[in-house]
Amino acid sequence: MTELKIKTMADFMATGEQPELLFWVGCAGSFDDRAKKITKAIVKILNHVGIKFAVLGTEESCSGDPAKRAGNEFLFQMQAMNNINVLNSYEVKKIVTGCPHCFNTLKNEYPALGGNYEVIHHTQLVQQLIDDGKVKVKEGGAFKGQKITFHDPCYLGRANDVYEAPREVLQKLDSELAEMKRSKAKGFCCGAGGAQMFKEAEKGNKEVNIERTEEALTLNPNIIAVGCPFCMTMMTDGVKHFNKEQQVKVMDVAELISQANDL
C-alpha cells in the first residue's frame, strides 16, 4: 500500500502555501473504525489525482449537525462559530466533506453565521474528477458485472437534491446498477438522521434500518453502495441482521472507485 500523503492546514500555513481544497473529514470519518476506511479511500483518490488538499486534523470539531437536529441550537451555534473562526482564519474557500450531514450543515447553515464556502460532497468531487478525465476507471475492473444498488442519504438527496452524482460515478464501474423501489426523492431513510444515531429508537414494531436493508436485499445485490458514514453503520447492521454479510457488502462510493483503480 502506498503511503497516504496528508497535510494539515497548519502544515500549509507553516510553509506559506494555500491548498486548493479542504477535506472536512467529520467525526465518524475520524473516529469510527469502518468510516475511517472511507476517509482513507477519499484521501487515496485525492492523492492519485494530485490535488493539493489539507485536513484540519485536531483543529476540526463536530459540525454541530446532530445537536441542531436534536433541538440544541445553542450547542450547534457554538460549534459552528468556533469552526467558522478556524476556517476563516485559514481563508478556506472550497471544502469537500466525507459526510452528507457535514456537507449540508457547512453548505446551508454556516452562511447565516458568517461561514461562506463552496462546499461539495465527496461523491460530487469524484464525479467531477471522472468528468474531467482525472480519474479513469479501468475497464473490466474489480466490480465488473456486479449488481450494485445505491441507498440515497437523506442529507445528500432530498435535503440537497443531489441524486445523480453518486449514480454517475457508479455507472463507470461496468457493473449493473439496480434501483430500489424507494429511491432518489422517494428514498427511504436508514434511520440514523435527526440525531437518532445517538439514541435508542422510540417504541415501534421494527427498526428503520431493517426495513431499508430488507428492501435492498430483495434486489439480491452484491453491493449496497452508500455515501454517508451513518448509512454505512445502519446498512451494515441491517445486512448482519439478515446474516448476509458473506454475500452482500456495504461500501461507500469512494471505496468502490478507489478499489476499482487498485489505489
Partner: protein, 432 residues
C-alpha cells in the same frame, strides 16, 4: 323583481357575509404566528405556485389518485362559470342568462353546458371512487387512527356534498329537457327518460327545486369550508407561493441564540434588546411560537396522509405521524381562536399548549429529519420545521432531551465529537 329574487339576494348576501366573517377569523388566527419573510423571489414563487398548486405537479407521483383528483379539481373550478350564471339568474330573475352565447353559426352556450355536464360527471365519478377508497377499499393512509371521528366524517361529508351538488345539476337539466329545452345535455340526456309521462307542473317544480338545491348547496359548501379540511382548495395557492425556497436540509437559524452565543464568545458584543412585549424564549411550545407560515400550513393540510405514508418512523410502527402534527397544530390553533372570540379579542390563558396537550415528546423524538414528509406534500407543507421547533423548546427550555442525547451533547461540548473520543486523536486514522 319577484319575491324569489329577493329571497335569493338575501340568501346570497348572508351566505357570502358569513363566509367573509369566518375567513377573516382564519386569517387572524394565522397571523397569531410569528413573522417570517416570504415575500422575496416573487418570480420563482409564482412559477412554483403555477406548477405545484395550479398544475398539481407533485400529485402525479401517485397517478391513480392524481387523475381522480384532477377530475374533481378541474370540474370544480370550471363549473364556477355556471354558478356565476345561476347567481345572475337568481338575482335578476333571468333564465340561463348566458344562453345569448348560442350564436347563429356557433352554439357556444350548448358547448359550455355540455362540457359542464361532462365535467360534473367526472367530478361525481371521482368523488364516488374516493368514497370507495376511503370506506370500502380502506386505503391505509385514509383509514389511520388519527382520522377516527370528525376527520373521517369530514372527508365523507365533503364527498357526499359534492355528489349531491352535481347530481342536482343533472336532474335539473333532465327535467328541463322534458320541458322541451334543446340545449346539449350529453349526460342528463341519458337520464331524461325517467321523467317521461311526468306532468309539466311537476317538471317545473323539479327544475326549480334542483336550481335552489344547487345554489344553496354551493353557498352551504362555501361556509362548510371554514370548519373543514377542504380549505386546501383555496389555501393551496398561497401556501405554495409562500413555501420555503431553501434546500430542504437547511433548518432555520435562531437569531436570538446567535445573539447570546456571540455575546458569550466576544464580550464586547452587545446583543440588541428584545422588542417590547417580546419574551426571549427558544423554540416553540404553542402555536404563538410558530411562524404564520407554519400556521398557514396547518390550515392548508387536507389530511391526505402522503407524508405519514412515507415517514420512516411511522412505517416502522412509531407514534410519529407528520399528518397528525399538522392536524394537532390546526386543532390547537382553532381552540385558541375560539378562546379569543369568547374573550373579546384577547387570549385567556387556558393552561394548555401544542407541546404536551396535543403532541407528545415520544412522537417528536421518533423523527429522523429525513424530509420525506416535506418532499411528499402536494402543497409544500413543512411538518419537519414544526417538529424541530418543538424539539428546540424541549431541549433548550425544558432540558427534556433523552439521556442518550444529553450524553451526545456533552461529548460535543467537551470533545468536539458526539462520541467520547479525545480531540487529540482526531488525526490518528492517517497513521493507522
Amino acid at each position: 323583481m319577484g319575491i324569489a329574487n329577493i329571497v335569493f339576494i338575501v340568501l346570497f348576501l348572508a351566505g357570502s357575509a358569513l363566509f367573509f366573517v369566518n375567513a377573516r377569523k382564519i386569517r387572524r388566527n394565522i397571523l397569531l404566528g410569528k413573522d417570517t419573510n416570504r415575500s422575496d423571489n416573487k418570480a420563482t414563487r409564482f412559477k412554483l405556485m403555477t406548477l405545484v398548486a395550479l398544475g398539481q405537479k407533485k400529485m402525479f407521483s401517485r397517478p391513480i389518485p392524481a387523475l381522480l383528483h384532477l377530475f374533481v379539481y378541474v370540474g370544480f373550478v370550471l363549473i364556477n362559470i355556471e354558478v356565476l350564471e345561476m347567481i345572475i339568474d337568481g338575482a335578476a330573475g333571468t333564465h340561463r342568462v348566458f344562453s345569448f352565447l348560442n350564436f347563429e353559426n356557433f352554439k357556444l352556450y350548448d358547448l359550455m353546458i355540455g362540457v359542464f355536464e361532462i365535467l360534473a360527471f367526472l367530478v361525481t365519478f371521482g368523488c364516488l371512487a374516493f368514497l370507495i377508497r376511503r370506506n370500502i377499499l380502506n386505503v391505509k393512509r385514509l383509514v389511520m387512527k388519527e382520522l377516527n371521528g370528525w376527520p373521517k366524517t369530514d372527508a365523507n361529508l365533503i364527498l357526499i356534498s359534492e355528489i349531491l351538488i352535481m347530481g342536482s345539476l343533472f336532474i335539473m337539466n333532465a327535467a328541463e329537457k322534458n320541458l322541451g329545452s334543446t340545449y346539449w345535455f350529453p349526460v342528463s340526456g341519458f337520464i331524461a327518460p325517467i321523467f317521461s309521462g311526468t306532468s309539466e307542473s311537476t317538471l317545473h317544480f323539479t327544475v326549480e327545486f334542483c336550481w335552489w338545491f344547487h345554489i344553496v348547496g354551493v353557498l352551504g359548501f362555501l361556509n362548510y369550508l371554514v370548519i373543514s379540511k377542504h380549505l386546501h382548495i383555496a389555501l393551496a395557492f398561497p401556501n405554495v407561493f409562500f413555501a420555503n425556497l431553501n434546500p430542504k436540509g437547511k433548518l432555520s437559524n435562531l437569531q436570538n441564540v446567535t445573539n447570546e452565543v456571540k455575546a458569550m464568545l466576544d464580550t464586547s458584543f452587545v446583543p440588541p434588546a428584545p422588542k417590547e412585549g417580546e419574551v426571549n424564549s427558544f423554540g416553540a411550545k404553542d402555536v404563538f411560537d410558530l411562524s404564520w407560515k407554519q400556521l398557514l400550513d396547518a390550515y392548508t393540510c387536507t389530511e391526505c396522509g402522503r407524508c405519514t405514508s412515507s415517514c420512516p418512523a411511522n412505517k416502522t410502527g412509531k407514534l410519529l405521524s407528520p399528518r397528525k402534527i399538522m392536524m394537532d397544530t390546526r386543532d390547537r390553533l382553532e381552540e385558541v381562536g375560539k378562546n379569543i372570540d369568547k374573550n373579546k379579542g384577547s387570549f385567556d390563558e387556558d393552561g394548555k399548549s401544542l407541546l404536551g396537550n396535543y403532541i407528545t415528546n415520544e412522537e417528536l423524538w421518533a423523527c429522523t429529519s429525513c424530509n420525506a414528509c416535506v418532499q411528499e406534500c402536494p402543497v409544500n407543507i413543512d411538518p419537519l420545521s414544526i417538529i424541530i421547533d418543538l424539539r428546540r423548546y424541549m431541549v433548550m427550555e425544558q432540558s427534556a432531551a433523552p439521556n442518550e442525547l444529553n450524553l451526545m451533547f456533552s461529548n460535543i461540548e467537551n470533545n468536539g465529537a458526539p462520541w467520547q473520543f479525545s480531540p487529540a486523536d482526531r488525526l490518528n486514522w492517517a497513521n493507522e
